[in-house]
């Protein structure tokens, strides 16, 4: 158990009791601060350096081949605490050459930025590493509709991410090589 020790307070001297020297010191401090360099960032012209783990606006990304990574598994929709995400799943036609082995992709993907709380659960839960909260932090609009990011907007914001997640390529490779009986 914590032991309580009572400390005697040092009695104040007369000058201390008038508080005037302390006030003078305080004034000195604030005065000297006036001439120190300023740290203000001139925001719209100067932009801050965004740390890597910054959680900005959620975006959808494409893989280095420019294919969409999202497969509309709807886990983000499920995990989203404010229910900001709304996905309409869709299937990818078999004959698309650049997207062989991709069977499912979102038909529509909407994130309501009026609801989004930037918690990052969607990024965390995404099994395909398709959704990222990137460095975009200023999102504004004049109407409520404008604040709902649709699929095109999300991909525009997200761009491509140079990672090593070549899932579809691997699948294609495996099929071309075939099963070695």
């Amino acid at each position: 158990m914590a032991k309580t020790v009572v400390l005697e307070r040092k009695p104040l001297s007369f000058s201390e009791r008038t508080y005037l020297p302390q006030i003078a010191t305080g004034l000195k401090t604030t005065f000297s601060n006036m001439f120190k360099p300023k740290v203000t960032l001139q925001y719209p012209e100067e932009k801050p350096v965004i740390p890597n783990n910054y959680r900005g606006v959620p975006t959808l990304v494409k893989d280095p081949n420019g294919r969409e990574k999202c497969v509309s598994c709807q886990l983000c929709e499920f995990v989203c605490p404010p229910k900001a995400i709304r996905i309409t799943p869709g299937s990818v036609p078999e004959d698309q050459d650049d997207r062989e082995h991709v069977e499912k992709a979102p038909q529509e993907f909407e994130i309501n930025m009026l609801r989004c709380i930037y918690c990052g659960y969607c990024q965390e839960v995404c099994p395909e590493e398709a959704i990222f909260l990137q460095d975009e932090y200023s999102s504004s609009g004049f109407t409520r509709e404008e604040m709902i990011n649709n699929k095109e907007k999300l991909y525009e914001l997200g761009g491509t991410i140079p990672d090593r997640h070549y899932k579809w390529d691997k699948k294609k490779e495996a099929e071309t090589d075939g099963n070695t009986h």
Partner: protein, 378 residues
């Protein structure tokens, strides 16, 4: 005196009105720029830049000068004022409308009224006569100042009551209590000054502000003679103007906005201006009483010539001192934390009041002794 001017009562009145507008304009301008100063100084002290965006159209294209003005935020007070004017007018539903609208006026008017008796320089006429520059150089100027400036508290008390809000009400109450507490110490602290200035046999009235200022010409400034008085007066001045560390009525941390919680747009703007007008007037009065008014440095005769140039330099010097005091007000605000309400009361009643009394008695004795000696020498 004013032989070169056309004569006539109406002309007199018009002239006075003209000067009064000039004064109001000057004070209001200073109040406005005090706001800017407050924002700038606080920014600097906190490592920030402060307002540096507002600029009039075209002005920013003037080379060097334009950007500098912009950087200093010289047009910010204009923008602030316009903002107050154009903001949506919101009146809470449960207020007493009449007093609610009256309160900001009552707060502003005393501040502006005080300035009528404020001397701010000397005019050296060509005929060698010297007259004080003031709208009305009253014999009992200081009394007028006390009497009128204390009325400002009614504005605050009224605002607090008419808002029908507990925060406002508490702010109003505190303001009244604080005003009463410090008014006493303030008055008492000035009595030695009058004693000192009113030399026996002198025809000068010790209650005239210009006389007090002139008494410091070439001699010691009164704050050197009576430092304790100056200190008590200064502290009381902070309290009277509701400045930190005495801004009990506003006290945004515990009372949201104090007396002006329910005020917005231009009505709030008036309160705002009134506060700074009080600061400006207070600084000017302190300058007149303790810092030698428009006179140069202690123990040095005014170096400027006794003509209109000297008059202007004197006024400028007076303004410089006032502006420094305004800066001091701001400086203190961003240095010291707010007192607790009980501490404010404690300081006022049990520290400043006894101190002022002791100060008075001591000076009574000293002045008596000096007077006796002077009488003996006569």
């Amino acid at each position: 005196m004013m032989e070169w001017m056309p004569q006539g009562l109406w002309f007199e009145v018009c002239l006075k009105v003209f000067f009064a507008f000039m004064m109001v304009g000057a004070v209001m301008t200073m109040a406005g720029y005090s706001v800017l100063a407050e924002r700038k100084v606080s920014a600097w002290m906190q490592g920030r830049v402060g307002p540096n965006r507002t600029v009039l159209p075209f002005v920013e294209y003037i080379p060097i000068f334009g950007p500098l003005l912009k950087k200093l935020g010289m047009f910010q007070p204009l923008a602030d004022g316009l903002k107050f004017l154009f903001k949506e007018e919101i009146v809470p539903g449960h207020v007493n409308k009449f007093y609610y609208y009256l309160a900001p006026l009552i707060a502003l008017v005393p501040a502006l009224t005080t300035m009528t008796v404020l001397p701010f320089g000397q005019m050296y006429w060509n005929d060698g006569t010297v007259s004080t520059l003031a709208l009305a150089d009253l014999e009992v100027g200081i009394l007028f100042v006390f009497a009128v400036s204390s009325l400002g508290v009614y504005g605050i008390a009224l605002a607090g009551w008419s808002s029908n809000s507990k925060y406002s009400f508490l702010g109003g109450i505190r303001s009244s209590a604080q005003m009463i507490s410090y008014e006493l110490a303030m008055g008492l602290s000035l009595l030695p000054v009058f004693l000192w200035v009113c030399a026996p046999g002198s025809s000068e009235s010790g209650l005239s502000l210009s006389a007090i200022a002139n008494s410091q010409s070439g001699g010691a400034w009164l704050f050197l003679v009576q430092p304790l008085s100056a200190l008590i007066f200064l502290i009381a001045l902070f309290a009277e103007t509701n400045r930190l560390p005495f801004d009990m009525p506003e006290s945004e941390t515990d009372l949201v906005g104090g007396f002006h919680t329910e005020y917005g747009s231009f009505k709030f703007g008036i309160f705002f201006v009134a506060e700074y007008a009080h600061i400006v007037i207070g600084s000017a009065i302190f300058t007149v009483i303790f810092l030698g008014g428009w006179h140069f440095l202690p123990f040095i005769e005014d170096p400027w010539p006794a003509n209109w140039i000297g008059s202007l330099l004197g006024v400028g010097w007076f303004l410089a001192k006032t502006i420094f005091l305004i800066f001091f007000f701001i400086w203190v605000r961003w240095t010291l934390p707010r007192f607790r309400y009980d501490q404010v009361m404690h300081l006022g009643w049990s520290k400043l009041l006894p101190l002022a009394l002791v100060n008075l008695i001591v000076y009574l004795l000293i002045v008596t002794v000096i007077d006796q000696n002077a009488a003996a020498n006569l």
